[in-house]
Amino acid sequence: MKNILIKKYHWCLLIVLSMGLSTSAIAQTDIDAIMMSKNNFCAGFVYGQSKWDYYWEGQYKRNNENLGTVTTKMIGFMGNWGVSDKLNLLFNLPYVSTKASGGTLAGQGGLQDASLWAKWMPIETELGKGTFSVYGIAGLSFPVSNYTPDFLPMSIGLHSTNLSLRGMVDYQLGSWSTTFSATYMIRSNVTIDRSAYYDTVMHYTNDVSMPDAYSFNIRSGYRSDRMIAELVFNNFQTLGGFDITKNNMPFVSNRMNSSMLGINLKYNIKKVDGLSLVGDAGSVLSGRNVGQAFVWNAGIFYILNVGPKKKSGSKTSSTNNK
């Protein structure tokens, strides 16, 4: 057990958060303290849903019979490749669709934003009786279809290209772990189909300046080779933007904030080595210009060893070699 536990985990783990009135799902294998071993490639599918019928118009919480319940569904293809034990590359490609149970607005659907992440673990060291590790993570997400972000809440996303920079620390003591991360997201301007728009003043352009965003994430719970069960708290803050005015429609550059509490589960199936099931669920506790969403996701992943084959170089041995 003096061995460093963290790099032994080969499962993929993800949390999909739904950002509010916008429906961009953020698949987050990139926000856990788990590294794929060198030459292992893990890929799988995740299905998720977010539902809300109350939302915050600015800071005023309301429902809207002209929307009813807004449901966002997501199916994502995700993967994680271990370039080395200390460097992983991840990707995610989600298809997203929206639907409102009330009113007359048509649901939208399409490929949303692809993301690519590099996750680097420069430090992994014993600290006290446990293991302390530090991560630097950078991610780029970009729209892969020409969907419109100017039809919220039915739009499938915000259509900005985002550069995320994340610092993360993790401490594992026996089978208990705590992870903290903070992320700064630089968001590109977006283009809308209109030639002018009003936010708090009139703009005669189709170019919308997107405020950057900041988030932090704390997760803590049980984490072993076999399974993970942890509580997750996520706080997302848009650094700027404006409030939806009374009885107005949401807009892409609104100040979207949310705090979400949820659980994250993962189980590595004994009988089939490399096969794992993941699931998570969470609720938005408080927000601003976002829906009070309940979100759940479920996924299945499989690990392939894509490195040079050796007799002992199987997935099994790398999982259980302590």
Partner: protein
């Protein structure tokens, strides 16, 4: 441990620093315009036909003091004193207003419309509060600047600006007092130099006529508008374009002309266009009596129809009898095969949207929180007028023609909508989910089509080389309502033909107003 701290620090500082290194500023298309450079001064515009004024001399403007009087020399010194210590902010304001007063005030109007174009939130019991002009600061704020309200507001302001400038031009020619920079060559003109006399100041006329109209149209914004007025007038003085007495005479004239227009507006029946529960019920009863399915609100809770009596508003370009004469024949009967066919066409559009159609829907949507279709056409017109080097008075004349056409298009369209009280496609087939909000009034005829065709007609007269382009835009605006799932083909086609008829009145006026 040191390595650990160092790496942590590195990551944290990256996260903190990188974001601040990139800029996100956006420039609007009219943010950095060159000063207005009129190709001609239109010095004889005092002879152009006004809209409401009986004559350009209806409101007298006293003769100015001579340019060699001590009073006037003191005014020139005031300009020079300002110019010696202009701040960057003052210079920016001068540049902003130098692009043209008609343009800038029209932009301010469009911004106000967008700000106020929000349907009131419902009461707890599912009814809706109505904005109150006497209490504009209490929610729901007055006005709800919906498309007909906005079209009328643009119409009045533009027509009043035009009349005020016609009067101003009359006195400019009459008194022929040169601009300060012509009299004193130590005054540096921060606007384009012209031979146009400066008394009374056109900038002050425009500021005052607009500000005065706002008392009626956007009473919650009077303080902001007053601030804009002061900015515009100060910029006129600091730029060397006008002296204080030019400005004072202009402001007085502008306010008087506006009062004539507000008096008309107070009695044009727009104030009672919302109707009451009895009126709303009568619309249903009358439609049902004809054996037709009557319109109902697709909002939840159901919202009373938008301005059902707006068709009675007194138009600018013709009389109320003409409104009725322009009302087109009925839409296809709600039980007819034709109606079924047209509904099926819309269902097909919304079931099979293409990205290009979605773009068209959203480009022309001009719904809640926007400057409305009339504002959109003002924006289109303004961006073309900028390239034409019009004088302020010609700018005002062209904007007035456009906005009177738009206002009257709204009146004829609303008269038609409530004469037939025809249901929206989604009411005929709830499977029709829409790509934009369904406006809360009857379908026949399409407002976008009527507004757009009227606008395209008059703009095609003003800028003939773009007539086809405007006509194509109107067609696209019209089709956008079918692609969006909120109008039938009949609504759009008859909307276009009706809009053209309204536009023809503006063209007829343009041909005889003395400006061409």
């Amino acid at each position: 441990m040191k390595k650990l701290l160092l790496a942590t620090l590195l990551i944290v500082s990256c996260v903190a620093i990188i974001p601040f290194s990139c800029s996100k500023s956006i420039d609007g298309r009219t943010d950095n315009l060159a000063p207005l450079a009129p190709a001609k001064t239109d010095i004889d515009a005092g002879a152009w036909k006004p809209v409401l004024l009986t004559a350009p001399t209806e409101f007298p403007v006293a003769a100015p003091a001579a340019v060699n009087s001590t009073g006037y020399i003191a005014e020139l010194n005031e300009i020079k004193a300002y110019q010696r210590k202009l701040t960057n902010d003052q210079k920016a304001k001068i540049t902003y207003w130098a692009a043209g007063g008609v343009l800038r005030w029209n932009e301010i109007m469009r911004e106000l419309v967008a700000k106020y174009n929000l349907p009131p939130y419902q009461n707890a019991d599912g009814t809706y509060p109505a904005p109150n002009a006497n209490n504009p600061f209490a929610y729901p704020f007055f006005p709800f600047a919906n498309p007909p309200y906005a079209a009328r507001a643009y119409g009045y302001v533009s027509a009043a600006q035009y009349d005020a400038l016609v009067a101003a031009w009359h006195y400019k020619k009459l008194y022929n007092r040169p601009a300060p920079y012509k009299t004193d060559n130590t005054i540096q003109p921060r606007v384009m130099q012209t031979d146009l006399p400066s008394y009374p100041s056109e900038a002050a006329v425009l500021a005052a006529v607009t500000a005065e109209m706002m008392k009626l149209l956007f009473p919650g914004e009077i303080a902001n508008i007053q601030q804009k007025l002061e900015e515009a007038e100060l910029a006129a003085i600091q730029s060397g374009a006008a002296t204080r007495s030019d400005v004072e005479a202009g402001e007085a004239l502008g306010r008087l002309v506006a009062q004539k227009f507000t008096a008309r507006a107070r009695t044009d029946k727009a104030g009672v266009a919302g109707g009451n529960a009895t009126d709303w019920k009568a619309l249903e009863t009358n439609t049902t009596a004809r054996g037709e399915i009557c319109w109902f609100s697709l909002e939840s809770p159901k919202r009373p129809p938008m301005l059902p009596l707006y068709g009675n508003v007194t138009p600018m370009l013709f009389d109320n009898a003409t409104t009725l004469a322009l009302r087109p024949g009925p839409p296809p009967l709600t039980g007819s095969e034709q109606m079924k066919k047209e509904t099926a066409e819309i269902l097909d559009f919304v079931k099979n949207p293409t990205r290009e159609r979605i773009r068209i829907v959203h480009y022309w949507a001009d719904g809640a929180g926007t400057y409305t279709p009339a504002g959109h056409w003002d924006a289109i017109a303004a961006e073309d007028f900028i390239t034409k080097n019009y004088s302020e008075v010609r700018w005002a004349r062209n904007m007035a023609l456009l906005n009177m056409a738009l206002m009257d298009a709204g009146i004829v369209c609303w008269d038609t909508k409530y004469a037939y009280f025809n249901p929206r496609p989604t009411q005929m087939n709830p499977e029709i989910k829409t790509l934009t909000g369904i406006p809360n009034f009857p379908a026949y005829i399409s407002g976008h089509s009527t507004f757009s065709a009227a606008a395209a007609s008059i703009l095609g007269y003003i800028i003939p080389e773009k007539a086809q382009a405007y006509s194509d835009m109107a067609t696209e605006a019209s089709l956008s309502r079918m692609y969006g799932g909120i109008h039938y083909r009949s609504d759009c086609e008859v909307g276009i033909s009706t809009g053209k008829k309204v536009g023809a009145y503006a063209v007829a006026r343009a041909k005889t107003d003395g400006a061409d």
